[in-house]
Symmetry: C2
Subunit: 164 residues, 2 copies
DNA sequence: CGCAAGGTAGACAAGTTGGTCTACTTTTTG
DNA sequence: CAAAAAGTAGACCAACTTGTCTACCTTGCG
């Protein structure tokens, strides 16, 4: 997971995965029928990790403003490597991976899409399905923050969003 | 350019570039000393293309609201393949490329960052450097829109943003 | 025209890729 | 304990990677 997240899928060969995990090639191909299957498993794992972290961060928000505050401050924690389960921040694993696998028919791409829809659903639920436009704005802002933090190496962007 | 944008850098080998461009390998390496140099050239080219398209789209905006309207409607055009110079929409070339080349020391990554800063500068300028917080929000929203349109295959996201 | 510059096609090198397979060892389990 | 299951190390394969080089051909220009 960490290797793929830190360097991208194409940049990491199976042999590097083996070396870093200390596992034999045969064993790996015993558990996963291909590199794609392995990648899908890492996506699935991170999906669950991320969703449960995010849900926890957004618990008990009462108002739009409160939700925004909790969301942005969670992102700030992540961006500044304060969230152990998410590892060293290197943008969104799903955005990054979708960038490498763009074909709509590719299961990898589809999983990335599903992840994003799940994130949006969590925001919606945190607002009791109240305000669709607010959910949308919050989602777009959070995507923008994650993307900007990564490509601009801007570690303060979430903090600034908190203030505005 | 198109090949790299549509499929990602690692997914496209030099030989595919040659085949698709009808150029001999020697010739290519006569003009570019490496694949990285070629990639940098495509980034540079698209950077200029994109910046000049965007500047044009944002001309003569008087208010925050007007600027937002012009920005979102420009994005909508791009996302729905109405902007010939930008080619078939496949997200932001710079976000996608940064996802593949994450090391801060890599010139490719640095170019991606510079592009984003230039985009932000254009927004700032379009508002006559007036309202920093508004520029920031607009930038984040636009990054979110581009990213969402791509990873969620959501071609209406810019249109919805226009309405809110 | 004649020649230099720069094009073409593609063989080739050295290394990497994902994936299979053999031969052997360790662990689990009835 | 014995047998089966699952692990290990790594050779091997075919295909592909970037990049170099040779040999030939086409241009543009003095």
């Amino acid at each position: 997971m960490d290797l793929f997240y830190q360097h991208g899928i194409h940049a990491i060969g199976i042999n590097e995965v083996l070396k870093s995990s200390g596992i034999a090639k045969k064993t790996l191909y015993n558990h996963f029928e291909s590199k794609e299957a392995l990648v899908l498993a890492t996506l699935e794992q991170r999906h669950h990790l991320f969703i449960s972290w995010l849900s926890h961060c957004l618990e008990n928000a009462q108002t739009n403003e409160q939700l925004a505050e909790q969301l942005f401050s969670a992102l700030d924690q992540w961006i500044n490597n304060k969230v152990a389960v998410l590892g060293d921040f290197r943008g969104c694993y799903f955005i990054n991976t979708a960038a490498e696998f763009g074909e709509l028919t590719n299961p990898i791409n589809q999983l990335c899409q599903r992840h994003k829809l799940a994130v949006k659903a969590i925001l919606k639920q945190a607002l009791n399905d109240a305000d669709d436009a607010a959910v949308e704005r919050l989602f777009l802002l959070s995507e923008g923050i994650i993307s900007t933090a990564y490509t601009c190496h801007d570690t303060d962007v979430a903090k600034r969003a908190l203030k505005n």
